[in-house]
């Protein structure tokens, strides 16, 4: 059972669900939630990509000595990247929520279609 | 051709002859008109008397410089046409100053007089003369449509503009007059001739009832005299042009006067039969049959 493929497939599914959430939900908070689902799916894929069957985490401690690291650890690079991606996801979501709060301050409505002032 | 002073004398002589012929022609035409109405009509030298009377008025007034110069322009136009055209084919004396230009010059010199007359009538500040001018110009330019086509046909046929060459091509029997070599062109020219002669059906310009005598209303005493001098010379000069181009020119004065008289009669006869056209009717008329005939006359040449 190749967990990498599972993670990737699950990641893609999560992305599709996230996009469905963004495109159909009228409530802007739900859109932000859709975005976080989208991000999680993304991170799942990133981690899934780095997975090698039957290997352990890239921590060189008693279990894995620096010598035989080459054959026994999973690819560490995606994990480093996912760390950054998560933080970026966090930043974006935090900013979006700040927007939601301010938008709500103005129009007291959470419906995306009530913020269509700039058009054409 | 060099220009000798003696030529001026011959031209003046020619001018005098044409002037008198013109006056006599107008009186004969009015006499014929009277005879038709069973009246004895005027004495045949009545136009001469009227002319002298007009010159012998004592007072006159002028509306301004252009009003003053209008008769001068008009008469220059009339005399100019006569002067720039060879009258009698073959005689060096009577080919006047035709070395200066050819048929195109004469075609455009006609407008010199018209412009002068128009400016004078305009200066007269008389609204009716201005209306007369606008009608006259519209009609004259419309009449030019068939005229240009007919003349073009003649120039193409003879491949030359100079009138002497055109007349030379028509010598030797009346069969090689343009009338017979290109009849359609002649018909078109004759229709255009009507337009230029200020006779009904195209005499709305001087229509006495509507606007008192049209453009020349304000002209009186000696101004009127100069204008009627031109009224004598100008029609005859134009007729001579048509004679040269379409009817074989004239080798001597009697033939010339006879042909002029007959052509003149053509416009009189048509005048008595047809009622007066409104201006846009005449413009439309010129753009119907004469235009088609004119185009035909050129096509005939191209295909023939």
């Amino acid at each position: 059972m190749d967990f990498g493929l599972v993670a990737v497939v699950v990641g893609f599914l999560l992305i599709l669900i996230g996009i469905w959430g963004i495109l159909t939900q009228k409530n802007i908070v739900k859109i932000v939630i859709g975005f976080s689902i989208f991000d999680t799916g993304l991170h799942a894929i990133m981690v899934g990509i780095g997975y090698l069957k039957g290997r352990t985490a890239p921590i060189l401690d008693s279990a894995v000595s620096p010598a035989d690291a080459l054959t026994s650890i999973v690819d560490p690079v995606p994990q480093a990247l996912v760390l950054t991606a998560i933080v970026i996801g966090l930043g974006v979501t935090a900013l979006m929520l700040a927007y939601v709060v301010r938008l709500y301050d103005y129009r007291k409505s959470l419906d995306i279609s009530s913020y269509e002032d700039l058009k054409w | 051709m060099t220009f000798e002073p003696i030529q001026i004398a011959w031209t003046l002589l020619g001018l005098f002859i044409v002037f008198n012929v013109g006056l006599l022609l107008t009186s004969t035409v009015r006499k014929i008109g009277a005879r038709v109405g069973k009246r004895r009509g005027i004495r045949f030298f009545q136009p001469h008397i009227d002319l002298i009377k007009n010159y012998s008025f004592r007072t006159n007034f002028s509306h301004g410089i252009m009003f003053y110069l209008a008769p001068v322009f008009r008469l220059t136009g009339g005399i100019g046409i006569f002067v720039f055209m060879p009258i009698i084919y073959g005689s060096a004396h009577f080919s006047n100053f035709s070395f200066a230009g050819d048929a195109i010059l004469i075609m455009y010199f006609i407008f010199f007089g018209t412009l002068g007359m128009a400016l004078g009538a305009g200066e007269g500040a008389m609204p009716f003369s201005a209306i007369g001018i606008s009608r006259g110009l519209s009609q004259v330019t419309a009449a030019e449509i068939p005229l240009v086509l007919a003349f073009l046909a003649v120039f193409i046929q003879n491949n030359s503009f100079s009138i002497t060459e055109i007349v030379a091509a028509q010598q030797g029997g009346f069969l090689n007059w343009t009338m017979f070599t290109n009849p359609i062109a002649t018909i078109t020219a004759m229709l255009a001739f009507l337009g230029a002669m200020m006779r009904s059906p195209f005499d709305i310009v001087l229509a006495p009832q509507e606007i008192p005598v049209g453009p020349p209303t304000e002209f009186h005493s000696s101004f009127l005299g100069v204008l009627s001098t031109n009224r004598a010379i100008f029609p005859i000069a134009k007729t001579i042009l048509y004679i040269n181009l379409f009817f074989g020119g004239a080798t001597n004065w009697p033939v010339l006067i006879l042909k002029a008289f007959l052509l003149y009669m053509w416009s009189v006869v048509v005048g008595t039969v047809f009622p007066r056209f409104r201006t846009e009717q005449s413009i439309r008329w010129f753009m119907k049959y004469p235009l088609i005939l004119g185009i035909l006359s050129i096509l005939v040449l191209q295909l023939g």
Binding site: R107, W120 | F3, N60, S134
Partner: protein
């Protein structure tokens, strides 16, 4: 600059970040976290000064590097972070391109930072740090060679932009920011998937090593490449999916707008060009297609905009589209790709930032009340500079770039691309010039003050002057640029005129410009060949004569003289040009100068706009024609005589160039701009524009026909077509003139007719035809300038152009009457004067050539010309003088002098026609040997007839004189009577207005022939304009302002894109 101490570029990142963290220390002025600070206490300017300091250092570093690259032969330098080799750690590269782009970003960052001083004061220190991080992020994007690091910096830039959009803090900005976040969130998501899969297939995150892995061949690699490329494209706001970008432009504060449009667009563009190396040729083509769709789409939508910032948003998205096209076609462009990119990028960068800053200064978004900018003429000058730079008009870099682009593309055979690019720039010109027209003409509300503090105008000044300098640099670098020496001195003089424009009175500037033109004519034009000398006389000689009329004006006439001189330089340049580059520059300079002259008229805004559209359309056609000629002639030189040895598309080239030139001679179909432009122009501008400018088009046709002879396109011989076109224009032009009520409009339509006559005569391609055309061109200049000057003088006095309101002016303005009289005699071709020469020659040419029916049409047109000539002189000068004009004075002396010079010229030509016709004849013999005119003494003898101008003149004067003496003798003391002493059937007229016959003068003609002059052409062009407007209106409905809709469009773009590329 000793290159040893070059600061390590990493300091740009270091200083950027360090300063923003330091800024965190300052109490965030605006909203004290602690509730005790109730009022919003203004932050001291210290943090702002700190930020500006950081930005200056960053600009200094990139400038220093660029300097050493350009002049000290510096080699590109890799910067390793974390002390390890690239594939294993992130490396930055500082090459020549990077230095150029970082300098661009930092410079606009610095200037916008300066610009936003009051906004930052309002927003507090946090906004400062966010702004600084944004600029640092953009620098990072440009320099990094690692694809994930690129993603991080992209994220930094987009989050910072989203944050800064909200600085205007109203609900519009908030919703725009939110939409921006949604869209960029999705895009960065896709980019991340692409990166991770690229890493999986390519094995490394470094762009260079990914390039070696050439992913597109690897089985799944195509997907990764696709996602990366599509997300970077989306980052650049491609047409269908850029609603969010446009809203961001509309909402964000102007300084940020400037940064987004020039800096971040430039940075992201450079990233795309970096990343594209990991792909293959297919993706370049795809980028080009997306680029052209964006360029056309957004420009099309720009037409309908009424808000300044949104329109500039559309325009900058369009320009980025153009950059994408060029990037996409980079290998077809070969080694001139770098120059084209440099030219277009620089002018977009400078002009967009400048225009956004101007929007900030004027503070109003609505285009229509931009008239207030006229309070500061300098800013109007700079706005003109930016708009012309954006559209690619001569002195600016984008002109040279577009020139090389068109040439290289047509050489490579990509004619469709040339057509699309030119069409797009034409549409862009529509709304930009309309906007410029609003600025120049619409009257703004007076009491609103226009505050222009130093920190806001300095960036505008700097970027304005920079665009001129870069224009100069580009003019040196363009292939064939070395021949442009002839423009430097004249354009320097124009610059000098700009400087002294506001301080010197009219007469000084007038004398100055006339002296300069005389010098220019003398110095450059001495050695010209035959027919160019004829045109030189018309352009320069005629120009000087008409400029005498300038003395009649008083005051300063700001903004008039520089453009008059520029127009004449353009005209002179046409004559002097040996290669097509010089020719095209002169053509554009002339159009530019004449546009500004025409728009000076009171009600001339719409007409000037249609004039500009036709001229630009024509100019682009000429450019396309030259491009084809350059490609068709095989030889890679740009000299004018490549037109001679064109092998391929000769018919097409001939048509393009002919139509291009004929937009200037206003042939029927392309004439609707002329009446408005000439009638509404000022009284001394109309003669220049009408009598001289139209000849430029004719000169173009002369050059074209002499070079290419008679060509045929699709079996139809083009000169035959031109002949018919000319004849119909002559007839319809004159007919329309006869029915005009406005004097100047009558003369304008008459110019259309006369120029139709010229085109007709040139189409003969025979000796006599050309002799007629050239003689007539000279005649037309003389009498049209004379008429326009005279009518200009009358209009200046009576303050009205409608003819029937005037009347009887002969008594008050006799001198004007005489010049109009001579003018109309010459125009209608009555024998004694020169007009008849043209008529006679044309008859000869018609008979000799055999085009009888066209000849007939033209002669009827000549007669109709006689009609409107008489109408002009009768309704204005004769008839009843009106009360209003009882004691108006004669036209100003300055208007009369040129008129009487021109009358002298007419008399000279009439008396000695051979003086003019003989030299032209001798010249023409080289090109058309048979059918020349023989001359014996004063008489011209052709194969058909003879004409002696001298004899006719003498005889006519002789007859006229004798009759005049006879009449003077007969009616000696004529009493001078007044206007109501007329026979009115016993009554007396009541008021002059009722007894003046002028309105609808040729009513019978209109009834009979009216159907010929229905405004079909105007309806045709209005139809096209309506179609464009309705498409634009329909397409822009795409952006309905809903954030979700934008997200949907982004994803749709991705899916559709994938179907096309991988499907």
């Amino acid at each position: 600059m000793v290159d040893s101490i070059l600061l390590n570029p990493i300091y740009i990142i270091g200083i950027g970040l360090g300063t923003s963290f330091i800024l965190g220390f300052f109490k965030s002025g605006r909203f004290q976290a602690h509730p005790s600070a109730m009022h919003s206490e203004r932050i001291k300017t210290a943090p702002w000064v700190l930020m500006i300091g950081a930005l200056t250092v960053m600009t200094f570093i990139s400038a220093e590097w660029l300097w050493s690259f350009l002049f000290n032969g510096q080699l590109p330098q890799q910067i390793y972070t974390a002390g390890f080799e690239p594939p294993f750690s992130i490396n930055l590269l500082m090459g020549r391109n990077e230095a150029f782009f970082t300098l661009m970003v930092n410079l606009v960052g610095l200037l916008s930072g300066l610009y936003l001083l009051d906004k930052f004061k309002e927003m507090g220190t946090h906004a400062l740090s966010v702004y600084l991080v944004l600029i640092m992020g953009l620098n990072g994007i440009i320099m990094t060679r690692d694809i994930f690091n690129l993603f991080v910096f992209l994220e930094i830039a987009s989050i910072a932009t989203a944050g800064l959009i909200v600085m205007t803090s109203d609900v519009k900005a908030l919703s725009a920011g939110f939409k921006y976040m949604i869209a960029t969130g999705l895009i960065s998501g896709f980019l991340l998937i692409g990166i991770i899969f690229a890493y999986y297939f390519g094995g490394s995150l470094n762009i260079d090593s990914l390039a070696e892995a050439n992913l597109t061949t690897v089985q799944g690699g195509v997907f990764a490449v696709f996602l990366i490329v599509v997300s970077l494209l989306l980052e650049l706001k491609p047409f269908p999916a850029n609603g969010w970008g446009i809203d961001a432009y509309e909402a964000s504060p102007v300084g940020i707008n400037a940064v987004i449009s020039s800096a971040s667009a430039g940075a992201t563009y450079y990233v795309l060009s970096k990343v594209l190396i990991i792909t293959d040729a297919k993706w370049y083509a795809v980028t080009a297609v997306v680029g052209i769709i964006t360029f056309l789409g957004s420009n099309l939508m720009g037409i309908k905009q009424t808000n300044a910032k949104r329109m500039l948003g559309y325009s900058s998205v369009g320009q980025v589209g153009l950059l994408l096209v060029i990037l996409g076609l980079s290998e077809q462009l070969g080694n001139s790709f770098k120059f084209i990119i440099f030219g277009i990028m620089m002018s977009h960068y400078l002009a967009k930032a400048g225009l956004f800053w101007l929007v900030g200064i004027v503070k109003t978004g609505i285009l229509k009340d931009w008239g207030i900018l006229r309070k500061k003429p300098v800013l109007v000058f700079f706005m003109g500079t930016f708009i012309f730079a954006l559209l690619g008009l001569p002195p600016f870099p984008s002109f040279f770039a577009k020139w090389t682009l068109v040439l290289t593309l047509s050489a490579a055979g990509l004619n469709l691309w040339v057509g699309l690019i030119l069409f797009g720039s034409l549409i862009e010109a529509v709304y930009l010039f309309r906007w410029f027209g609003y600025v120049l003409k619409l009257d703004a509300d007076k009491e609103r003050s226009l505050s222009t503090p130093f920190y806001r105008t300095f960036p505008v000044w700097l970027f304005g002057l920079l665009s001129y300098y870069i224009g100069y640099v580009a003019s040196v670098m363009v292939p064939g640029g070395e021949t442009l020496g002839m423009f430097y001195l004249p354009l320097a003089f124009v610059g000098f005129l700009f400087i002294i424009d506001r301080y010197l009175p009219v007469w000084v500037k007038n004398t100055l410009s006339m002296a300069a033109m005389a010098l220019y004519g003398w110095y450059y034009m001495a050695g010209l060949s035959e027919f160019r000398m004829l045109f030189a006389i018309i352009f320069i000689g005629g120009g000087i004569v008409t400029m005498i009329a300038g003395y009649a004006k008083s005051g300063k006439r700001v903004g008039f003289y520089p453009f008059v001189v520029m127009m004449y330089i353009g005209l002179g340049g046409l004559l002097l040009s040996e290669n097509i580059l010089q020719f095209f520059i002169s053509w554009e300079l002339m159009t530019l100068g004449s546009y500004v002259l025409i728009i000076r008229g009171k009600k001339s805004m719409p007409h000037a706009l249609s004039y500009m559209m036709f001229s630009l359309g024509g100019a682009f056609l000429i450019l396309a024609g030259f491009g084809l000629a350059f490609a068709g002639s095989g030889v890679s030189s740009i000299s004018l005589d490549i037109l001679k040895n064109v092998t391929r598309y000769s018919g097409l080239i001939y048509t393009f160039l002919a139509i291009g030139f004929m937009t200037k001679t206003a042939v029927i179909g392309l004439h609707i701009w002329l009446p408005g432009a000439h009638a509404e122009a000022e009284s001394d501008v109309s003669p220049m524009v009408s009598a001289i400018l139209l000849k430029a088009g004719m000169f173009g046709l002369v050059v074209l026909m002499l070079a290419m002879g008679s060509q045929s396109l699709g079996g139809v011989s083009l000169p035959y077509l031109l002949g018919w076109l000319g004849a119909i224009t002559a007839l319809l032009g004159n007919l329309m003139a006869a029915f005009q009520e406005d004097a100047k409009r009558l003369l304008a339509y008459s110019s259309v007719g006369q120029l139709g006559y010229v085109v007709f005569a040139m189409a003969f391609m025979s000796h006599l035809g050309w002799l007629t055309a050239l003689a007539f061109a000279l005649n037309h200049f003389v009498f049209k300038a004379l008429l326009f000057l005279a009518i200009g003088g009358v209009v200046m006095r009576t303050k009205t152009k409608t003819m029937y309101e005037m009347g009887g002016l002969i008594k008050r303005m006799p001198l004007s009457f005489i010049s109009v009289l001579i003018g109309i005699i010459a125009l209608s071709g009555l024998p004694p004067l020169t007009g008849f020469a043209g008529k006679w020659l044309s008859y000869n040419a018609v008979i000799e050539k055999g085009w009888y029916f066209q000849g007939f049409l033209v002669s009827i047109a000549g007669l109709v010309a006689f009609l409107y000539c008489f109408r002009l002189i009768h309704v204005i000068f004769l008839g009843q003088p009106k009360d209003k004009f009882k004691n108006i004075k004669e036209a100003p002396i300055a208007m009369l002098i040129p008129q009487y010079i021109l009358i002298g010229v007419i008399m000279l030509f009439s008396l000695m026609p051979n003086m003019v016709l003989k030299p032209i004849g001798e010249f023409l013999v080289q090109y058309f040997p048979d059918g020349a005119l023989q001359w014996d003494g004063g008489t011209a003898v052709s194969s058909l007839g003879r004409w002696s101008g001298v004899a006719i003149m003498n005889i006519t004067i002789g007859i006229f004189g004798t009759i005049l003496i006879w009449l003077l003798f007969m009616s000696r003391k004529a009493v001078k009577v007044k206007q109501f002493n007329i026979f009115y059937s016993g009554e007396a007229p009541s008021r002059p207005e009722l007894t003046h016959y002028g309105y609808n003068f040729f009513a019978p003609y209109k009834k009979a022939v009216g159907f010929l002059v229905q405004p079909l052409v105007t309806r045709f062009w209005d139809g096209i304009a309506d179609i464009l407007h309705s498409i634009s209106d329909f397409v822009r409905r795409l952006y309905n302002g809903n954030g979700q809709m934008y997200a949907f469009q982004v994803i749709l773009f991705v899916v559709v894109f994938s179907i096309f590329t991988i499907g």
